[in-house]
Symmetry: C3
Subunit: 345 residues, 3 copies
Amino acid sequence: MKRYTVGELASLVDGEPVGEVDHLIGGVAPLDVAGPEDLSFVASRQYLPYLATTSAGVVLAPRALAGEVPASLSQILVRDPHIALAAILRHLFPSAAPPPGIHPTAIVAESARLGEGVSIGPYAVIGEEASLGSRVRVDAHTVIGEGASVGDDSWLHPHVTVYPGVRIGHRCVVRSGARLGSDGFGYVWSEGEHRKVPQVGGCIIADDVEIGANTTVDRGSIGDSAVGQGSKLDNLVHLGHNVRVGNRVLIVAQTGIAGSSSVGDGAVLGGQAGVGGHLTIGRGARVGAQAGVTGNVADGETVSGYPARPHREALRAQAALFRLPDILRRIQKIERALFAREERP
Amino acid sequence: MKRYTVGELASLVDGEPVGEVDHLIGGVAPLDVAGPEDLSFVASRQYLPYLATTSAGVVLAPRALAGEVPASLSQILVRDPHIALAAILRHLFPSAAPPPGIHPTAIVAESARLGEGVSIGPYAVIGEEASLGSRVRVDAHTVIGEGASVGDDSWLHPHVTVYPGVRIGHRCVVRSGARLGSDGFGYVWSEGEHRKVPQVGGCIIADDVEIGANTTVDRGSIGDSAVGQGSKLDNLVHLGHNVRVGNRVLIVAQTGIAGSSSVGDGAVLGGQAGVGGHLTIGRGARVGAQAGVTGNVADGETVSGYPARPHREALRAQAALFRLPDILRRIQKIERALFAREERP
Amino acid sequence: MKRYTVGELASLVDGEPVGEVDHLIGGVAPLDVAGPEDLSFVASRQYLPYLATTSAGVVLAPRALAGEVPASLSQILVRDPHIALAAILRHLFPSAAPPPGIHPTAIVAESARLGEGVSIGPYAVIGEEASLGSRVRVDAHTVIGEGASVGDDSWLHPHVTVYPGVRIGHRCVVRSGARLGSDGFGYVWSEGEHRKVPQVGGCIIADDVEIGANTTVDRGSIGDSAVGQGSKLDNLVHLGHNVRVGNRVLIVAQTGIAGSSSVGDGAVLGGQAGVGGHLTIGRGARVGAQAGVTGNVADGETVSGYPARPHREALRAQAALFRLPDILRRIQKIERALFAREERP
C-alpha cells in the first residue's frame, strides 16, 4: 500500500498537523489496535481516554478538543474528524479498477446498448433492449432484465437481480443479492382464491442511490415505485409496491415499508422499523428502530415505539410502564385506607 | 401495446359502461397520473375527490357509488373494482411468453425429467433425478437440487435455490433469491459445542403458491415443512423447520415463523410479525403487523402487539399506556389528600 | 437406505434397548407418522400421550421416563434423547459425498490456491489470490472474491457471495444466498449529501460457524467484523460493520445487530431481535425474541421487550399493562369517593 506523510494527509483534509509532519502513514485503524504506521481518530470527548495508550502514528481530532489530546501524540486537527476520515480512506484505499471489458462467459443480448468502458463479469446476463451507461460495472452472476437501464458509473455487485424495465440512475451501488423490481404483494379475493393482481408498474432508482445486500424493492402495481436521489438503503430492507422514497433518505437494515407509502426527503428510518401501507412519512422525519408506524408522520417529527408516537411521549409511556407494579401497590394501599372490606373490588 | 374500446373492457368484466363505449384504452394508471388513453379506478368513497381532476379516459367504479361519479367521466360500473381491475390488467398486459427451450448454457442432469414446453434460462442448473412438469419456466441462474420436483406451469425467477428433494406444485411462482428447503436451525448442546441435528425432512410447496423475493422456507428436521394450496408469501419471509402453513394463507413481508408452528387455512399474518415455535395459529386467524405471538391463536381470532393479545384488548392496553403519566398524577393527588406526609410512599 | 437393528442403534448412542433388539430400522419420523421401520423419540413428559397410538418400530426415551413408556413399545433408553437422535440421524443419513473435482464451467483464477480434494460446482467463480483449504466444497453459482480464504472442510452452498478478503475458518457451513463481507452502512453528511465512508475492514468467520440462508454479515469499516468459533446464525440475520460475535453464540432468524456492537461467548439471541449500535451483550446473556436492545446487557442476564429490560421486569410490566383499564376504573372509583365534584380532574 502506498504511504503518505502526516503533512500530506493534513493538507488533503485541510487540517492542522501537530507533531512530526514527515512521519509515514500507510493504514487506518481504531485507537486500540492502531500501530505506528496507522492513522486513527477521536471524534468525541468520550474516546479521549483511549489516547493515553494508543500506539497510532497520528490521530485525527476535532479542533474543539485540541487542548485535550496528549501533546506527545502526533495529531491532525480538523473541524469534523468523520468527514476527514472518509476523505483519507478514499485516498489510502482507492477503489480497485474493475476488470476491463466483457467477460467471455457473460451473455449480452444483441439488442442491449452498452456505454463506453463498461465492465461485465463472468456469467452476467444482460437482457434484450437493456441499456448500460458509460463505465457501468456489472459483477459476476448479476442478471439484468429486458429493457432495464443502468446509468453511468453505477456498480452492480454479484448476484443482483434487476427485473425487466427497472431504471437505475447514475453512480448507484447495488450490493449482492438485492432484487429490484420484483412483483409486489397484490391479490384480490375472488371465487374462493387469492388472485394475483398483475404488477405492471415501474421501479425507478434515482442517481447516487445505494442499496444493501439482499434488499428487495418491488415494482409498482400500477404506477411506479421510486427511490430518490442520494438515498441509501441498508441490508435486508423491503419496499413494497408503489412505495416512494424521497431524496437523501436513510433506511437502516431490515426495515420494511408497505405498499403505497411515501417517505419525504431527508427522513431517517431506524433498523427493523415497519411502516404500514398508504402512509406518509414527512420530510426530515425520524422513525426509531423497531418502531411500528400506523399513521402519518409530520415533517420533522421523531416517532418511536409501537404504535409509533412522538418520541418524547413514547419514552414517557415506556418509563411509566415499568412503574406499573408500583402504581398497583399504591392503589391497593389507597383502597385499603378508603374503603370498607365489602366495597373493595 | 394493443388497445381496447371501453365497451370491450366493460364486457370483459361484466360491467356497465357509462359514456362513450368506442373510446380506446391502452393503459392503466392511478387517477392522478392517468391520461386520456388510460383506464383508472376508484374503489372507495375516500378517493372520490380525485375524480374531479383526473384526465383518465375511463374510470372503473363500484355500482354502489354510481351516482357519485361525475357524469362527465366515462365509467365502467362493476360490483368490485379491484377484481375487475385485475382482470383488465391480465388482459392488457398478458405475460410475455418465456423464451422457448433450454438455453445452451443451462446444465441439465441426464437423469432429470423434463415435461413438454419447459423453458430453462441461461446458466440454470438442474440436478440429477430432478423433475420439471410441463411448461415449467426456470429463469437464469436458478439452481434446482437433486431429486427436487416442480409441477406444471410453475415459474422460478432468476437466482432461486431449490434444495435437493424439495417438491413444488403446479402453477407456483417463486421470486428471485428465494431459498426453499435449506436446513433448519437445529442444534443440540453436547460436549461443550452446539452440534448440528441433521435436517432430513422435506419441504413441500402445494399448488398455486407464490413465494416472494429473498424469502426462506426451511426443510423439516424430521418430517416435512409445508405450504398449502393457494398461499402467498411476500418478500423476506422466514419459515423455520417443520412449519406447516395451510391453504390460502397470506404472509406479509419480513414475517418469521419459528420451527414446528402451524398456520390454519385462510389465516393472514401482517408484516414483520413473529410467531414462536411449536404454536398453532387457527384457521382464519389474523395476526397484526409486528405482532409477537407467544401462544396459540384460536380460529378466527385477531391478535396484535407484543406479546400478542386479542386485538381489542391490545388496543385498549396501548391506549391506556399513553394515559399512564396522567394516571400517575392522579394517584399522587389522591395520596396527598388521603395520607399524612409520613405515610406516603 | 441402509437399515440397522435396534441393538446396533442402541450401542451407537450408548443406550439401553428394551424389547426386540433385532428389529430393523431404516428411518426416523415423528411419533404420529412413524411406521414400524421408523425410530421415533419422546423427549419430555408432555409427549408421553402420543406413545399410546404410535406405530414407531422403536422409541428413543430418556432414562428418567423409563417407567412411563408403555412396555409394549420397543425402546432405547438414553440420558438425552435429543443428543442421541442427532447421532442416529448422522448415522442413518450420512452426508452425500460432494461431486469430486472442479466442474468444467467453474472459473478459478490462476492465482487461486486450492487444497486437496476440493469440490467446485458449476458456474462458481473463484477470484484472484483466493484460497480454499482441503476438501472445501463450493456449490453452484457461488462467488468467492479476490483474496478471500476458506478453511478445510467448509461448505459453501449455492449462490453464496464471499466478498474480497473475507476469511472463513474450518468446518464452516454457509447456506444459500448468504452475503459475507458486504460494505457496512457508513455515511457522513457533507456538502448536502450522504457521502460514503469507505469500508476497508475485514470480515472474519472462525471455525465451526454456520450461517443461514440470505443472511448478511458486513465487513468492518475500519478494523474487522468477526463471528467466533462454533457460533450459529439462522436465516435472514443481519450483522452490521464491526460487529463482533463471540464463540458458541446462537442468533435466531431475522435478528439484526447494528454496527460496532459485540456479543459475548455463549449468548443466545431470539428471532427478530434488534441490538442497537455500540452496545455490549454479555457472555451467556439471553435476548428474547423481538426484543429491542438499547443498552448494554450484563453477563448472564436475560432481557426482553422494547426497550429491552430484565426479563422478569418486562413480564411484570407487560402483565400490568393489560390490567390498566381495570386500574383506571379503580382510580375513578377512588376519586368519586374522595373528591367533591369540583375537585375532580
